[in-house]
Subunit: 329 residues, 2 copies
């Protein structure tokens, strides 16, 4: 099943989207918003699925031609955002470039922070930040969960995943290092993130979802040039179930929690330059390690980034994120 | 105006509470939940105020006798929680006890983290945690904001504060230090927090609210013995406006953001033992600094903590938090 939210009010208006993205149907009689659907998923899922089946069969009542430009983030505001740094080579390269090594306990538990959940931008919204802050993007795949019970095991946790979507976690690199030095985590260095246009159920991914990781090839294009071509199903020592279980040790999750494993990254990029990176910062770290200096510029007003996941046949899996940087007002 | 939420569903049911806390009235015709009221505050505030005035005059339709036990947290789930460590002596003592000094940049900007916002417990809910994790509480006053525009100045920011309430930020001290060492901030060491029973508008505080800080005396009682007797209006180099403006440098806030200045703490407690502390950790730090060893035990199942703010006449300002620790299931 593919779900999305039309731009409308603070929470958007839930629509079911046909498999080929051509048509959509509103479902106010089932759930007005995606949050409402997630709050009552077990009772509503089959009714939403019926609409999806009808859309794909061309028989859905009230179906209309979908314009992706009308979409907000699937969850424009959420109650919890957790983001990891689980693709460890992302962290390794960033630290290596500045002469650091990985922390000793990096493999003891997934490294995850509590992020800003209240204002996800749409897939094509501008990134409105000051270039003096060194604007970077991060290409990620996020899971959206239902209610997760505290103490859930890593094996059981994936069954609470309701949806997956693309996520772009904007990062202001000038502020990251001094903020992390204060030990309280990211704050002003991680402003609002952006979600891909579509949220898809795990079954929609077919064998790209193995119950632990989402496979596929994440292509990242910056200023019209591909800088990332990354396999997403490998190189994270922690899968979604382990990430969820780690945080759920001391808390329940509310329905609509968004949890990412962090910037996708491949070990093989050390020797295969065509793989690249899922953010500018790591790409610059690779340049520094291999050539002694970083060349890829951070984003400037007018620069665009495109992030899209492709399956084994080269088909787009869950839409694209495609954004331009603009100056703050 | 005093507002609260009856236990009901995920978001509670908004009620207006009389000044003396004896009576309450539901307001489904105005706003079903506190979040809904905050989402549309400018339009709804005067209608809510009319109900408050009628309650105090004894003329409110449908008013009923309020049982505090029926109250959930005023905002049972919120879209953003920000918590500071603005009462700097709290940090200074904790670090001094372990031989550390304050970070050089402690006065450059308020130290604030992104916290867990999705599951605030009620004022009298049990603290369900494992005592092996060294269970502590933190006594705080939180502001609940309306929509705050990005880039707001510290002078302008306080006008976006809609409400204040007590906050108890449960902390698992065994996990705090190793988690902060990883630089991504608090995660499993800060599980759900708890809010006082009532949220009050700034005008309700009279001259306790000077537009920057909330004054009063926070009394903290642990296991029946008072361990904190703290003036809340002093000893924070950063006021609410500065805390809000700092975070809002790179983001808007959504209505219903909860922001605390951190555990209340007084400089004078260094020489006046009767002032004590707003959490066990700092109290133990003071014991360590003054006597060489910490004696006050962390919370065990069956232990109670009570947190309450009093005005100059010794009257309770916004209800009390009163909780018992219980074992996890």
């Amino acid at each position: 099943m593919k779900l999305a939210s039309l731009k409308s009010g603070r929470d958007g208006e839930l629509v079911i989207v046909s498999r080929d993205l051509s048509r959509a149907a509103k479902v106010p009689h089932i759930a007005p918003t995606l949050q409402a659907a997630l709050d009552d998923w077990d009772r509503l899922e089959s009714r939403l699925q019926d609409v999806y089946d009808a859309l794909n069969a061309g028989t859905a009542e009230g179906a209309f031609t979908l314009a992706l430009e009308d979409l907000a983030a699937p969850l424009p505001r959420a109650y919890q955002y957790l983001d990891g740094a689980c693709y460890v080579c992302h962290i390794r390269r960033n630290r290596e470039a500045r002469g650091d090594t990985l922390p000793d306990d990096i493999l003891d538990a997934p490294l995850i922070y509590q992020g800003i959940s209240h204002g996800y931008g749409a897939w094509n919204d501008p990134i409105v930040q000051n270039p003096a802050d060194m604007i970077d993007f991060e290409a990620e795949i996020a899971a959206i969960t239902g209610d997760v019970p505290r103490g859930v095991s890593a094996d059981e946790a994936p069954r609470y995943i309701r949806l997956f979507c693309l996520l772009q976690d904007t990062s202001l690199r000038r502020i990251v290092a001094p903020e992390l030095k204060r030990t309280f985590g990211f704050l002003t260095s991680k402003p609002e993130s952006f979600l891909g246009p579509l949220a898809v159920t795990p079954d929609e991914l077919g064998d790209l979802w193995d119950g632990k990781m989402v496979s596929g090839t994440m292509k990242v294009t910056l200023r019209g040039k591909q800088i990332g071509n990354i396999e997403t199903g490998i190189d994270s020592p922690f899968h979604y179930g382990q990430a969820i279980a780690h945080v759920a040790k001391t808390r329940n999750f509310p329905a609509g929690t968004i949890i990412g494993l962090g910037t996708v990254s491949n070990e093989a990029a050390d020797t295969d330059w065509s793989i690249g990176a899922g953010c500018i910062g790591e790409y610059r770290a690779m340049e520094t390690i291999q050539t002694g200096s970083a060349k890829l510029a951070f984003m400037q007003p007018g620069d665009r980034v495109r992030i899209e996941l492709f399956d084994r046949e080269g088909k787009s899996v869950m839409g694209a994120i495609d954004q331009e940087v603009t100056w703050p007002a």
